[in-house]
């Protein structure tokens, strides 16, 4: 069996899935790495919810401008043809369905596409939501990028989220380090699976029922 995808391989897999010309918002955390892997010749437009469209990579050291940061508060650049706007228009872009894809990290995804990615529940200290709920409701397609199971080996693809919900029924596709899974009206369908990993072995690490779909080999 192949080893599970590294984070970099997973970022590369997702980068390949983003079509040319797409407007995309990448959540804070894991999805950060995706832009480094966009295939050559493909033009992707990155949105940042603090009011940037066509965001570019981090500038070289010493050239940071702290008025030009992304939603994770890291310095970025603006690509030619980019624009700045206020938070109101920025969130109108999301909620209004103007973004093609949003790629988010997650703690849990349910078989119906419910998403839990903002809080691990009561007792964790200070709650904070940022733009997580807005993003989850807004883009035309919500993709989740996550490790298939938690650090402690618990399933993250579940029948019902036990963590506080971010939004109900929004996730369209899950990219994990073991599989690519589509959320359909009939439940979860395995589109890609790690070469050499059996469907039963994948099911053993997944709480929600999985149906075999295309079952193509997952490549990083």
């Amino acid at each position: 069996m192949s080893t599970p995808l590294t984070r970099e391989q997973l970022a590369r897999r997702i980068a390949r899935a983003i079509p040319d010309g797409a407007f995309v918002n990448l959540g804070i955390g894991l999805p950060d790495q995706i832009p480094d892997h966009i295939p050559a010749g493909r033009e992707i437009f990155l949105h940042s919810e603090n009011g940037i469209l066509n965001m570019g990579p981090r500038p070289p050291a010493g050239e940071e401008n702290w008025d030009l940061i992304n939603a994770g508060k890291q310095p970025v650049t603006l690509r030619t043809g980019g624009s700045f706007f206020d938070s109101s228009l920025s969130f109108a872009m999301m909620r209004g369905g103007h973004l093609d894809i949003s790629v988010l990290g997650a703690f849990q995804v349910s078989e119906r596409g419910d998403l839990a990615n903002w809080s691990t529940g009561i007792g964790e200290g200070v709650p904070a939501v940022g733009g997580a709920m807005d993003l989850a409701v807004g883009a035309r397609e919500i993709w989740v990028m996550m490790e298939h199971t938690s650090r402690h080996g618990h399933a993250r693809i579940v029948r019902d989220c036990t963590y506080p919900l971010t939004a109900r029924g929004v996730v369209k596709r899950i990219f994990s380090n073991l599989a690519v899974i589509a959320v359909t009206a009939d439940g979860l369908e395995v589109e890609e699976i790690l070469p050499g990993l059996s469907l039963d072995a994948l099911r053993a690490q997944t709480e929600a029922p999985l149906r075999p779909g295309a079952m193509r080999p997952l490549e990083g």
Partner: protein, 225 residues
């Protein structure tokens, strides 16, 4: 490479069908996309629902569609015009040949914004207690009567702008801006007729009024019909 530019007006309006709901930019003559209006007229599209601030004037604007019987319903704040000449909105309306939904101007633009911003509705004090609130849900908020207004979205937005780049970033010309930046957010297909194409980066990123994400096609004002 993303390129929103199209070469002529036929391409600019391609795919718009009979029965379409169209957001039409402009306040009076300022901001009306006359080339796009002419193209839709020439295409003979029928049974249109038009959302626009005004009801047409002596110009070859919405009046063209009205005269040709292309419009089924108008959603509008000010359908009257002293400049109406032939087959005006007034004639059609008084003859019962067109439906009118009259909306206060600020409520009209706010309803379009509401649609474009993915919201489900809003409460406004405007219109409360008047004939234009009849049949609408109302609610007292902080001791003041408010009317529940619903979002407006459309199949198409036809707009006029000043500059566009290939990404669809737009600027406008003075008071011709009016409804356009909001209408650009609220339609499945957004088409702008512009005075000038510029290279990406030529518009100051701080001065882009409508970011290209909202725009599908841009066509030069002087392009072939």
């Amino acid at each position: 490479m993303l390129d929103r530019r199209v070469a002529d007006f036929a391409q600019a309006i391609a795919g718009i069908g009979d029965g379409a709901t169209i957001l039409l930019g402009g306040f009076g003559g300022a901001g009306t996309p006359l080339g796009l209006v002419a193209a839709v007229h020439a295409a003979g599209l029928k049974d249109l629902t038009v959302i626009a601030n005004n009801g047409g004037s002596a110009e070859p604007d919405l009046s063209l569609w009205l005269a040709a019987g292309q419009v089924r319903k108008l959603v509008c704040s000010y359908p009257k015009s002293k400049l109406n000449t032939t087959a005006s909105f007034s004639e059609l309306y008084l003859a019962g040949k067109i439906e009118l939904e009259l909306v206060p101007q600020g409520t009209l633009v706010e309803r379009i914004r509401c649609g474009g911003a993915g919201l489900g509705g809003f409460y406004t004090p405007v219109g409360a207690g008047t004939a234009l609130a009849e049949g609408k849900e109302t609610r007292m908020i902080d001791g003041r009567e408010h009317v529940l207004e619903k979002p407006i979205r459309a199949d198409v937005a036809l707009l006029r702008a000043r500059q566009a780049d290939r990404l669809g970033n737009l600027t406008y010309n003075m008071a011709a801006r009016n409804f356009a930046p909001v209408m650009a957010t609220a339609a499945e297909l957004v088409v702008a007729e512009v005075e000038e194409f510029v290279e990406p980066g030529a518009i100051d990123p701080e001065a882009v009024v409508t970011p290209g994400i909202f725009v599908d096609r841009v066509v030069l004002k002087g392009a072939p019909r």
